[in-house]
């Protein structure tokens, strides 16, 4: 069988060798607890402080504005629940978000509703962009926090975060964006884009799973989710994961430095893939095609096929893709993102997400351009029987 092709970088990426190398000392000799007063503690503390500074620099922030978390989900939860809980007393009981968010944001928003808040979901265009009129209608003086993901993890659509953040803040609303898929692809800079809170995840950019970060602009009201020691100014108690914080900082530096080059590389591959697939399968639908999109995600539906069978058939030929979103059991279920942007159920059930990254080159694209249309043909022949 030819070399396997990994087209699921939006799910996770391998740890980069530079990152592994940067983390290594903290699994060995520099094992100290950053809260300890002795030399082991000091060593760890210095590395942790540097990790804060280095990650902050990557997003135009100050070191004290960065909190390390265990993952992107924790960062999203801290952002929504932490901000909302600290503001609910002040007449701001609503949370505004989109129906195409990652489950981490949607579930945190549902939790806010259970705690007495009001969840407001924005309307989306058919291409997956926030509807302006809906934004104006829902974002008002009674909103505590507005959360809109920068780049959608299923269809790659980029939201106009700069304008949305500005308009939210004009109403005194704290603006959060989940930048887990955006970082390393679009320019993320707290000095030029007026978001208040921003989530990052390590394993999408070559750091390990189990580390994320939350940017919190100075002066943003936020409560911790957990209670314990005074680590990270009490915003995130618990002994810090020094090695992984260092790893995330290193990965972020690399991603920020390579961002434009990476964009061009991935966009060229994505464009070639998209054009070839559309040429061979003229009735295929590319989701979010009419909107600005990040270059690493291609969401394609072929009428008359089902994604579950296609993904199996692709995997058995060594090509790894994913469907909408994965359930805990690993089965595929209909994508809430696609249904929220008005994709009919039968088309949504055929959606395949191909996400490009460091493990791809031209040979991968060529192979997918051969195999995918062939499997689609077969699936359609079977469906016709």
């Amino acid at each position: 069988m030819p070399d396997p092709v990994y087209l699921d970088h939006a799910a996770t990426t391998p740890v980069r060798s530079e990152v592994l190398e940067a983390m290594q000392p903290f699994f060995g000799a520099r094992f100290g607890n950053p809260s300890s007063v002795h030399r082991w503690g000091r060593e760890a503390r210095t590395a942790l402080d540097e990790a804060h500074e280095r990650l902050a620099r990557c997003i135009g922030a100050s070191a004290d504005e960065v909190v390390f978390t265990s993952c992107g989900t924790e960062a999203d939860n801290l952002a929504l629940l932490g901000v909302w809980r600290s503001r609910r007393g002040a007449g701001r009981k609503a949370v505004v978000t989109t129906p195409i968010e990652h489950k981490a944001v949607l579930a945190a928003s549902h939790q806010i509703e259970r705690e007495g808040g009001e969840e407001r979901l924005l309307k989306m265009s058919r291409d997956g962009v926030v509807d302006d009129a809906s934004f104006d209608a829902l974002v008002s003086e009674d909103v505590a926090v507005c959360s809109i993901m920068w780049v959608n993890n299923e269809i790659g659509v980029i939201q106009p975060i700069h304008e949305l953040a500005q308009r939210a803040r004009a109403h005194g609303v704290v603006f959060h964006t989940d930048a887990v898929q955006a970082f390393g692809k679009v320019a993320v800079d707290a000095r030029t884009t007026p978001f208040d809170v921003l989530s990052l995840s390590g394993h999408k950019i070559g750091a390990p799973k189990g580390i994320g970060a939350l940017y919190i602009r100075r002066g943003t009201p936020i409560e911790p989710l957990m209670f314990g020691g005074s680590q990270d100014r009490g915003r995130r108690p618990g002994t810090e994961n020094v090695a992984m914080a260092v790893g995330l900082a290193r990965a972020a530096e690399l991603a920020a430095a390579e961002r434009e080059h990476e964009w061009n590389l991935l966009a060229a591959m994505r464009d070639r893939l998209e054009a070839a697939l559309l040429e061979k399968i003229p009735d295929a639908v590319i989701h979010g095609r009419g909107a600005p999109r990040a270059p690493h995600i291609l969401s394609i539906s072929v009428p008359g096929t089902d994604s579950e069978s296609l993904i199996m058939a692709l995997d058995l030929r060594g090509i790894a893709c994913s469907a909408g979103s994965a359930c805990q059991s690993g089965s595929t279920s209909p994508s809430h993102v696609l249904s929220a942007i008005g994709v009919p159920a039968d088309l949504a059930s055929s959606a395949i997400r191909m996400s490009l990254g460091c493990m791809n080159g031209d040979a991968c694209i060529t192979r997918v351009c051969d195999v995918f249309p062939m499997l689609v043909d077969k699936a359609r022949r079977l469906a016709a029987v």
Binding site: C327, S329, L382
Partner: protein, 363 residues
């Protein structure tokens, strides 16, 4: 090129050993666990989508070095199996969802997935055997599951592999140990209906039809002559032949002999009122060339019931009627009537009703 087989894996010992045996026989094995229902977050002890079973199946496949997939057949299963289950109880019958799951879910919907990945074969851990395109009872009489397989399309038999059907359960466990499948080798047998979480089927009925649905409302216990003997708490809780939960004070043991969904009555009577000399089944499916009126067959009206001798007195419009050589007890509408010739499964149907008098063969 090795032939590919899609193995339906529940995470239990039978299907795991089935997959393992096929690997040793040189097949290109692909494992699949069907996600058929979701209890949501209400049952933390039994996680969403039988997660533990899925994980066991996946780990066995990893150990065997074969791919494993979770297939979401929830909506089709809900329509073909769960809704029918609930509707049958509402009609005062006692359905067997496993039969419909085999007919529609495993050997139809899953077969389509097999087609999609070029799998020639489909395999399960059922204790039954296929020889020359004919379905036979499993070798182990204590485990024989052929009773549940009468509904599958006849043409599917030529694509079915049932690797454990020719051995006993003890042998299956021994093979599991031999092959190092310790994870599941001593796993307990599942007795419940998979989508009924705690063995209480009325919860599913209440969830689907509402707690105040007719079949769960109080109604009378009556005798055949119409005499009322108290009140029951919903006829869906009763099945023909049941003894538990009936009013006392009779000289002889009493049983449910009939359920009358129109009036909501549960008819009770002594043992002899349970006896039937004939049985009518609908939705009949044949796994061999259809037999003819007058043919003698063996019939089984319940899983594990001893086969009874009978004669086909009517075969038409998807229905059959059998005259039983001697009386059979507790023929329950909704259960399956399966026709055998020795170990061969001829076909079957869903029991519509019993006849107390011997049916006469139409000339």
């Amino acid at each position: 090129m090795r032939e590919r087989v899609l193995v339906a894996m529940s995470g239990g010992v039978d299907s795991s050993v089935a997959a393992a045996l096929l690997v040793t026989q040189g097949y290109d094995v692909v494992g699949a666990t069907m996600k058929l229902f979701c209890h949501g977050e209400d049952l933390p002890d039994r996680p969403c989508c039988s997660l533990d079973s899925v994980n066991d199946a996946r780990r066995i496949c990893e150990q065997l070095g074969v791919p494993h997939y979770v297939l979401n057949l929830e909506s089709a299963f809900g329509r073909d199996v769960v809704q029918d289950f609930v509707a049958e109880y509402a009609r005062g019958r006692t359905p067997i969802p496993c039969v419909r799951c085999n007919t529609f879910t495993k050997f139809r919907d899953l077969l389509r997935k097999a087609d999609a990945i070029d799998a020639t074969w489909i395999a399960t851990g059922h204790y039954a055997q296929v020889r020359d395109g004919v379905l036979h009872r499993g070798l182990d009489p204590a485990k024989d599951q052929s009773y549940f397989l009468w509904g599958i399309e006849r043409s599917v038999l030529s694509r079915m592999l049932l690797p454990v059907g020719g051995q006993t359960k003890a042998e299956t466990r021994a093979v599991a140990h031999e092959l190092g499948l310790e994870l599941i080798a001593e796993k307990a047998e599942s007795q419940d209906i998979c989508f009924v979480p705690d063995g209480d089927h009325t919860k599913i009925i209440a969830r689907e039809l509402g707690a105040d649905t007719w079949s769960l409302r109080p109604g009378p216990f009556v005798r055949r002559d119409g005499t009322v003997f108290g009140t029951h708490d919903g006829f869906a809780r009763y099945t023909v032949g049941q003894r538990k939960g009936l009013p006392g004070g009779f000289r002889e043991p009493m049983f449910v002999v009939e359920i009358q969904p129109d009036t909501g009555a549960v008819v009770i009577g002594p043992r002899q009122e349970l006896l039937g000399r004939g049985v009518i089944a609908r939705e009949v499916n044949w796994l061999v060339a259809p037999p003819r009126v007058g043919d003698e067959v063996e019939v089984q009206i319940r899983h594990h019931a001893a086969p009874a001798r009978g004669t086909l007195v009517r075969v038409d419009n998807g229905e059959v009627e059998i005259a039983l050589e001697s009386a059979v007890s507790a023929i329950s509408p909704g259960q399956s009537l399966v026709l055998y010739d020795g170990s061969r499964v001829l076909g079957g149907g869903v029991i519509e009703r019993a006849r107390r008098e011997l049916p006469i063969l139409a000339a």
